[in-house]
Amino acid sequence: MGHPYLPLTDSERRQMAKVIGLQDPSELFQAIPEAIKAQASFELPARNEWEVKKRFSQWAAQNTPVSQVISFLGAGAYEHAIPSALPYLVNRSEFLTAYTPYQPEISQGLLQAFFEYQSLIAELTGMDVANASMYDGPTALAEAVLLALNVSKKKEVIVLSGLNPEAQQVIKTYTAHLPVEIHFLAPQDPGVKAELSSLLSDQTAAVVIQYPDFFGRLRLTSELLSLIKASGALSIVYINDPVCLGLLEPPGAMGADLVVGEAQSLGLPLSFGGPYLGFFAAKKNFLRNMPGRLVGMTTDLDGKEGFVLTLQTREQHIRREKATSNICSNQALCALTATIYLSLLGPTGLKEVALSTVRNSHYLYSQLTRIPAVQGLSPEPFFHEFVVGLPNAAASLVPKMKEKGFLPGYKLPPGQPFSTDAYLLYTSELRTKTEMDRFCEEIERCLQ
């Protein structure tokens, strides 16, 4: 068959079979028991490129992307403007179609880019070292928790309230089979510090805190980190939108031991949840316990500077069951994306984006909470997300607002931590005053 993805022609196949000494290539499958072969087939016609494109266009058209509405939905995945230059560079086929750079002499470009990525993540978080990426934020956090458990040999972990629910679930899954206890703190307001000190003990391997937290709250302080340090536990800071670090004090500067998180917001599209980008940064004393790949600088035979994968003895392909993690394929291209995003934005651009999101969120919060029926539930300092209560609106609110072209944020599951119909709203740098004002008007109308 002549198929664009199958370069060999029938005549080449025949020639090759002959060289091997076969009548027919199918003889190469004779090791497979006949009974198995007989079961293998199923119905699936081939389609040409155009047909496939059409089918996927139709499916895409059955979705309503945030770019077609005015969205206040964040809650762990963040809409941001993506510079036009970014995809052009990321999609260079030398990057896109390469494997992990195991052959450094023809992979200096990729290796340098990952080295730069590590440097940028370390700078952003204020940490000593960062690896070359993890699958996503939640798995990076789960691996950080495992690192803390392994290094400390202790059996308890405390998770402060306000951790992304996805991350909470992944921690549970990754530790379910282990003889350890994970305390998920109930969100008491205020009193984090008080409650934490009562729970902290010399059995605590680590304390996990999100910054800003899932509800947008800013609760991480050097004081809190000192308290954790004093107990002998490791502090693990989880960041879900590193754009914030354009403005916020980096956890490293406050004394965090491990800073991990989700870096989708650094230039990756929403893509219905993936692929995203986990990052993993640590104080240097945890270097040899870190999961994932690391790129190091070295020299070649002529003394010329160059880059290689290094400290591979931590990894599965060398250490097998004793490896620090099982991760092999990582999120290389997503790390490259973040590197290019940060290079394009620079310190000023990143701060502008961060400041715009904060400016918008504070404006929207103030305007929304002027509406009598709206309850402000974010009294603490918050960043670009906040919570409001929209009681009695319940079921009808979202559909009504969607009709008007708005995605009114994320409806928090009832009860925890807010007792009313609570919504989490995110305001990207893309939201304008007019959009927010219209949104408030419509919300007011809906609630009447």
């Binding site: 068959m1 993805y5 060999l8 091997i20 000494g21 499958f29 028991p33 198995i36 119905e43 699936l44 081939a46 047909e51 496939v52 309503t64 992307p65 939905l73 260079r92 990057f95 179609t97 390469a98 052959q103 023809i106 200096q108 340098q112 080295f115 730069e116 370390a122 699958y135 996503d136 495992l146 899954t173 089979h177 403005l247 916020l248 929403l270 219905f272 949840g273 993936g274 600088m297 070295t298 070649d300 160059g306 880059f307 290689v308 003895t313 250490r319 069951e321 099982n326 092999c328 394929s329 990582n330 999120q331 291209l333 997503c334 290079s343 715009s356 400016r359 740098e429 939201r431 005053k433």
Partner: protein
């Protein structure tokens, strides 16, 4: 003056005040920062990111790309990695706004197309592998393994069988298999391969104890050999109450010819970035969907997509689920690509792809064994492993051969893996080859074999045409410099 030097590091190229992108900014009056965020939370030290213009960034990364090498640049017979050609159609599809700008937490009404896509992908992966249910959540092959092993663990816990704490893994297996087993809380027991390079039931027998939770296997195995006794092997594991896990990294050898489910496997992960032509991206992102037989389906991660008369829905209704292994629903954009690839080929095309991949590997094996040691001399499947040069007076190592290939613009095969073959050169041409390409590769390999005798010193110093020469890896590990 360095001629054509590589690009300086981003921070070295930075100049204060330069801008690469002006983001859209809030059009609100500029409330001062301190009124929004208390000073205790704001940065004290300036953020030291590079400051570059768009041109600087473009040239920097373009020049980095020019110092990299992908499948589009040339032949890439990297064993175990299935470096097939990545059709360009695949790159277009995830950029449709209806996919690219879709938030993972939107209402079901707004994501019907996406849910449909997941549903169809799960169905088709099941058909290809002979499994009953699939999850798309795992981010890569190793993650699929972990997910599968956590499922096995959860099932054992439900059965009160936690004493089964050992996973059997052949000595030829990929490192992720034992690492994943350990991460899921299992002990690892290595199983020796036979002289024929496969698992012999008799060799397996001694390891069958009540502690065995299961066996992990890839078939064809990492030597590229089909495990002929597979039905006996899976039966033996089942007989002692264990589960059999299929590492799908080598599925490209058998698509349309045989299904892991029919071989008796209970769990299978796929590497969409290998078998289904999604690009490797310099190391990722991959995607490692996990399929299971019906008895393990209740343990799959949540949520699952279900089809109802009212449309597709998310379902969390799975009391025995292991929970989530990843944020949201997996590498959706990668799944789009894999599914499109499958549609383009159809069943016949998938089968032909495997047939071509196997044919190409055997063609190379036939021609290369004249000059290179072939430890397992029989028909291979999609890949085969050589063990250094036959006639090698100058003690040329596999590493030298690999570096020698770089000077011919060819990506070297996988070297020193699997661990059980000394001086291993693991060659996987995939179906993305022409006869010309294969013949020129053979000619180059023969040329290297002859250089090994005529100019061994030159080969030991290879590569000669790359931007850097051999790099000092020991120094990198001894004195780690991991950031600027």
């Amino acid at each position: 003056m360095k001629k054509k030097a590589g690009p300086a590091l981003l921070n070295q190229a930075s100049v204060p005040g330069r801008r690469g992108y002006l983001p859209p900014v809030s059009d609100l009056p500029p409330t001062p920062e301190e009124e929004l965020i208390p000073s205790s939370f704001r940065r004290t030290a300036p953020l030291n990111l590079p400051e570059l213009s768009e041109m600087d960034v473009t040239r920097h990364f373009t020049q980095l790309s020019m110092r990299s090498f992908g499948v589009d640049q040339g032949f890439y017979p990297l064993g175990s990695c299935t470096m097939k050609y990545n059709p360009k159609l695949l790159e277009d599809l995830p950029t449709f706004p209806g996919f690219r700008d879709l938030h993972p937490l939107q209402d079901e009404a707004d994501i019907q197309g996406a849910l449909r896509l997941i549903y169809e992908a799960e169905k088709i992966f099941s058909a290809i592998t002979g499994m009953d249910a699939f999850t798309l959540q795992p981010a890569a092959g190793a993650h699929g393994e972990l997910t599968g092993l956590l499922i096995m663990k959860a099932a054992l816990r439900d059965q009160g069988e936690l004493a089964r704490d050992t996973i059997l893994i052949p000595d030829s297996a990929h490192g992720t298999n034992p690492a994943s087993a350990a991460l899921a809380g299992f002990k690892v027991q290595k199983i020796p391969s036979s002289a024929a390079g496969i698992i012999e039931p008799d060799d397996l027998k001694p390891y069958l104890s009540p502690q065995v939770a299961g066996l992990m296997l890839t078939n064809p195995n990492t030597l590229g050999l089909f495990e002929e006794k597979i039905l006996t092997i899976t039966q033996m594991i089942h007989d002692i109450g264990g589960q059999v896990y299929y590492d799908g990294a080598n599925l490209n050898a058998i698509m349309g010819w045989a299904r892991p489910g029919d071989m008796g496997f209970d769990l299978v992960h796929l590497n969409l970035h290998k078998t289904f032509a999604t690009p490797h991206g310099g190391g990722g992102p991959g995607s490692g969907p996990l399929g299971v037989k019906a008895h393990l389906a209740p343990y799959l991660p949540v949520p699952r997509v279900i089809s109802t008369p009212g449309g597709f829905k998310w379902s969390d209704d799975a009391p025995r689920t292991i929970g989530k292994v990843k944020g949201f629903w997996g590498h959706f954009a990668v799944v789009i690509k894999a599914l499109a690839y499958i549609y383009c080929l159809g069943f016949d095309g998938l089968k032909q792809a495997s047939s071509d991949a196997v044919l190409a590997a055997n063609y190379l094996q036939t021609l290369l064994k004249e000059d290179y040691n072939l430890p397992y001399d029989r028909y291979c499947m999609h890949e085969f492993v050589l063990s250094g040069l036959k006639d090698n007076p100058a003690a040329i190592r596999t590493l030298d051969l690999a570096k020698g290939l770089l000077d011919y613009g060819i990506h070297p095969p996988t070297v020193y893996f699997p661990l059980i073959v000394p001086e291993a050169l693991m060659i996987e041409p995939t179906e993305s080859v022409t006869l010309d390409l294969l013949d020129s590769f053979v000619a180059i390999m023969k040329e290297l074999a002859s250089q090994a005798k005529t100019k061994p010193e030159e080969l030991k110093e290879a590569p000669h045409s790359t931007p850097v020469r051999r790099l000092n890896e020991a120094q990198a590990a001894r004195h780690p410099v991991l950031k600027w």
